[in-house]
């Protein structure tokens, strides 16, 4: 049981990394990028190509893939998302949904439906683990992912609270109109947010590739877990998303204790319960939903 919770935390840290970019984009632009999971998978494929082509370790491969993903993030914002923001409320959802289908199928065309994994190429990182006491193991990869998750969230928080660029991002998130009047170029702010989100998503993709297998249509599954983490932790809260991810991971591993098939389902149940508690309560029955 204790081991299940611990493994759940390691799993949850992975979900937290996946969810980070999604949470940021929602916090700054009020957009849920339905292609977020597919972007993570795309990142995994780029690392795969680099690893297969050069024989480098996946971690090094990621460092090479990162600038590509960041550039892709800028392109995504400036072409699709910026336009979508100006249209209706539904447009970003519809446009990113279409994008998700496009990415999945382009990957299918290029890479075939076979599953891949980068676990084998990472050597000790994925195979090493330590027995701590009675039944409790700490896998090296799990520990690394947890550490990276904390560092990523911490760095993002520092960026938002200590740098002028971060203040500008928060200002634009709160009131884009007033931000423009203060001389802040909202286009640049949004592009920066998307680029950061895409980069962290790619990191999530790397961890996916290291922890397990992926194929061109793995995207939607990652999106759902990322979104569940964001909602469980409270939309619009960055640290909340980290906690939400951890909660999701623990829910899944505890569910798996009952029956391995219940893993994802337990997460869905937790998600739906949180939704009902947060939005189904009596206080919302009077006077309609709050704005």
């Amino acid at each position: 049981m204790a081991n299940a919770i611990l493994q759940g935390i390691f799993l949850g840290a992975f979900y937290a990394v996946l969810a980070c970019g999604l949470s940021l984009m929602f916090g700054v632009m009020r957009i849920i990028n339905l292609a977020h999971g597919d972007i993570a998978v795309l990142g995994a494929y780029i690392v795969l190509v680099i690893v297969q082509g050069t024989g480098m370790s996946p971690l090094v491969g990621f460092v090479v893939a990162l600038p590509v993903m960041i550039a892709l993030g800028y392109v995504l914002q400036l072409t699709v998302l910026e336009r979508a923001l100006k249209s209706g409320l539904l447009t970003p959802l519809l446009a990113t949904f279409g994008l998700s289908i496009v990415i999945q199928n382009l990957l299918l065309l290029k890479f075939s439906p076979d599953v891949h994994s980068l676990g084998a190429s990472a050597g000790a990182l994925t195979t090493e683990s330590w027995n701590v006491f009675g039944g409790v193991t700490i896998p090296a990869l799990g520990l690394v992912v947890l550490a990276v998750a904390v560092v990523v969230y911490g760095a993002l928080q520092l960026y938002l609270s200590r740098t002028r660029s971060g203040w500008r991002m928060r200002a634009t998130a709160e009131d884009p109109d007033a931000a423009e009047l203060a001389g802040i170029d909202s286009r640049h702010v949004y592009a920066r947010a998307t680029a950061i989100a895409v980069a962290i998503a790619a990191l999530g993709g790397l961890f996916l590739a290291l922890r397990s297998v992926f194929d061109p249509v793995s995207g939607p599954t990652q999106l759902i877990f990322a979104f569940e983490a964001v909602v469980i932790g409270g939309m619009g809260s960055l640290w909340g998303t980290l906690l939400g991810g951890l909660a999701l991971g623990v829910a899944q591993t505890l569910g798996a204790q009952l029956n391995p098939e219940y893993a994802a389902l337990s997460g869905h149940v937790l998600f739906l319960v949180v939704l009902v508690l947060r939005f189904g309560g009596i206080r919302y029955a009077r006077g309609g939903a709050r704005a």
């Binding site: 336009r83 249209s87 949904f97 199928n105 999106l223 869905h268 739906l272």
Partner: protein, 327 residues
């Protein structure tokens, strides 16, 4: 100046639609099961498109999880058929039961805002898919067939399925049509245009949206029932697939969000594209996704919306026209 609902064009067209329905009813008498099956597929598309449009175009509710009801309708049919009901009776029961699930779901789903609602519905579909997968009696992950239909002669079976499809399409589109023409409908269009203004005028927005959600729930359950009747074999991966949402989004966006005729146009288009590119596969889906995205960004009112604007054309009398009264 007077305000009119019917113009000559809309009179002609509505009459024409009636004729088309009657003619379609005779289809199985003239053509073989193959063509009848294909036409059934077209009707399923029309039904799905109309229902998704009812949600998004008239209710402002973007759901990426209607496949939940499709799957529940399909597996419900299997369930009730296995319980001993004659297959076509099982289908009706499944439609009612699966559709009725939309009522409890609506109690909390409708409190969610845009993105949460969209993905929340998707999660419900995923959860339903997993629950089905866990049930050995329903074929688990490998799928199951509506074997009770094997005993029917293919011609009859296809004809019955087609007539059921025609009936359901007429019923649900008819229900939507009358809904839009009623005072309820005007308030729906008001909600679509400006929700806050509508609410401030006393329009009971929540109740209206619930009505649309439940209607769409029944409609999509109906589509699920038809799918299993039409193809006989289903598996969780395909019938609960988010690809159905992709199809619905494509049909409605390209056809015309928020118009009555648009989704029908979109369904015909999707059907035409699907039958032309029978190879299917990734390129076809890339095209669908890209087209849907482009329409969302560049032509949000879809093809029919553009036609309506250019020509001032309304084929079906769901709106009002201000007309100069002839002296």
């Amino acid at each position: 100046m007077i305000v009119r609902r019917w113009t000559r064009t809309s009179r002609l067209f509505t009459g024409g639609t009636g004729v088309v329905v009657v003619l379609l009813a005779g289809l199985p008498l003239v053509f073989g099961p193959d063509i009848v099956q294909k036409t059934t597929t077209l009707l399923i598309f029309v039904l799905l498109a109309a229902m998704w449009n009812a949600l998004a175009g008239y209710g402002g509710l973007l759901s990426v999880g209607q496949q939940a009801f499709i799957g529940l309708g399909a597996y419900g049919t299997i369930l009730f058929a296995d319980l001993g009901f004659p297959p076509y009776v099982a289908m009706i029961i499944a439609l009612v039961v699966a559709g009725a699930l939309s009522i409890p779901i609506s109690l909390f789903a409708l409190r969610l805002r845009a993105a949460q609602f969209a993905i929340g519905m998707w999660v419900i579909a995923e959860a339903a898919s997993i629950l089905v997968r866990l049930d050995q009696n329903l074929g688990a992950g490998t799928g199951i067939a509506l074997s009770q239909l094997y005993s029917y002669d293919p011609n009859y079976r296809q004809a019955y399925t087609f007539w059921l499809a025609l009936a359901l399409t007429v019923i649900f589109l008819g229900a939507l049509f009358f809904l839009l023409r009623s005072p309820l409908g005007t308030s729906l269009q008001a909600i679509r245009d400006d929700e806050d203004a509508a609410r401030s005028l006393g329009v009971r927005v929540a109740a209206r949206k619930r009505l649309l959600f439940v209607l769409a729930g029944f409609g999509c359950a109906g589509a699920g029932v038809l799918i299993v009747a039409n193809t006989l074999f289903i598996e969780p991966g395909s019938v609960f697939s988010v690809q159905w949402s992709a199809y619905m989004i494509f049909m409605v966006l390209v056809g015309g969000l928020g118009t009555f005729e648009g989704p029908i146009l979109g369904a015909i288009l999707l059907f035409a594209i699907q039958t032309t590119f029978t190879q299917g596969g990734p390129w076809y889906l890339v095209g669908l996704g890209a087209t849907a995205a482009l329409f969302a960004l560049l032509l949000p009112r879809g093809l029919w919306g553009a036609i309506e604007e250019r020509l001032g054309l309304r084929l079906l009398p769901v709106g009002y026209q201000v007309v100069e009264k002839k002296k």
